[in-house]
């Protein structure tokens, strides 16, 4: 059924690379826009690089997640664990145990995009609801609702699937003048 479409889209993908735009809409005021590029190497490796309006790099090397903020001159590293709150790529890069962590339910399709709801099974997960939009067997859009009912919408484009990606994309070595903090 359509659930298999999602599973095969995720498990059938060994790597993804492309650009993302992120819009965080808040109750009051203008939505917050940011954009950058991403790469995913399943299982467990991802790169999520914000370029505008500020630089912030998130790298999952398979066991740990680095968050590097050049303006703050700090890099934090923590174990992979529940890394989703650092980037949706962690969800997409996750091993096939999507259903272990999420309750998956197909939703309606809208202009050619098949939507799925992924409700975190973990009660204290940062996001109360996640929706994945699939087109031609590939995740093209994500919507994440947080506990304050604020919505983060992520759109992927220029996505290359199953290309051979350079391993250095998923490694991070902090520049010399940057403080490294282990959480």
């Amino acid at each position: 059924d359509t659930l298999d479409a999602l599973k095969s889209a995720l498990s059938g993908t060994t790597s993804l690379q492309g650009r993302f735009t992120q819009t965080v809409s808040q109750h009051k005021g203008k939505p917050q826009q940011s954009a950058g590029d991403f790469a995913i190497q399943r299982p467990g490796k991802f790169r999520w690089a914000y370029a505008t309006p500020y630089e912030q790099l998130i790298v999952g090397d398979g066991s740990e997640v680095w968050l590097y903020d050049p303006d703050l001159r700090q890099a934090t590293v923590k174990s992979m664990g529940n890394a989703l709150e650092s980037s949706p790529a962690a969800l997409l890069a996750g091993d096939n145990a999507l259903e272990k962590n999420y309750l998956i339910k197909p939703l309606a399709s809208k202009n050619g995009v098949d939507w799925f709801e992924a409700k975190p099974r973990q009660e204290d997960a940062g996001f109360s609801n996640i929706r994945l939009g699939l087109k031609n067997g590939q995740v093209v859009e994500m919507e994440l609702v947080d506990r304050f009912e604020q919505l983060t919408r992520i759109r992927f484009d220029g996505v290359k699937r199953n290309a051979r990606l350079d391993a250095s994309l998923f490694r991070f070595t902090p520049p010399k003048d940057v403080d490294v903090v282990r959480e």
Binding site: Y54, L67, T76, S86, D146, D179, E183
Partner: protein
């Protein structure tokens, strides 16, 4: 208190708004501090609202502070109230911030009611002051500072603003 006049297009008029990232690191009263967050800072009149979250926009806490009282709501639904915003924030999130002074510093100015000392600075695009026991450096203030570094004993707070919506 100051009413918040809605702007056309649904955006609410704030007297000041800044989005960015911050970190607090070091030691306070023998307790290690090591927190970082993306933030959305809004001020209307003397009411400051600070939302702390992840790069992904996922909000972990929302603090609302006036000079007399503060309330905080956490992602897991917990809510707490206190007269001192700094204590409340530290207690619920571990993040130690001088909120009532940052209310002025993030807008590039010393708090008007407290004594302040100008300190020599490295370059023209920097201004450093000493106030309320903190050493505060403002970087690239045009007009609001893009970066701030605050030092108090062995605690350092760094603030990087990416947008003033």
């Amino acid at each position: 208190c100051a009413s918040v006049a809605p702007q056309p297009g649904g955006a609410v008029a704030h007297d000041f708004a800044a989005d960015g990232r911050l970190l607090a690191r070091g030691e306070v009263d023998g307790r290690q501090v090591n927190e970082n967050a993306n933030f959305r800072w809004r001020r209307s009149g003397e009411t400051v609202t600070v939302e702390l979250g992840s790069p992904l926009g996922e909000t972990r806490a929302r603090l609302v502070a006036t000079p007399r009282e503060a309330s905080i709501r956490m992602a897991d639904g917990r809510e707490a109230y206190a007269t001192d915003a700094d204590e409340l924030l530290t207690e619920l999130t571990g993040l130690t911030l001088p909120v009532s002074q940052l209310r002025w510093w993030i807008e590039g100015q010393p708090a008007p009611t407290l004594p302040v000392k100008e300190l020599p600075t490295e370059s023209s695009s920097t201004r450093s002051i000493e106030q309320a026991g903190w050493q505060v450096s403002f970087y690239d203030a045009a007009p609001y500072p893009k970066r701030l570094v605050l030092k108090h004993e062995s605690l350092e707070v760094r603030v990087a603003v990416s947008d003033w919506p």
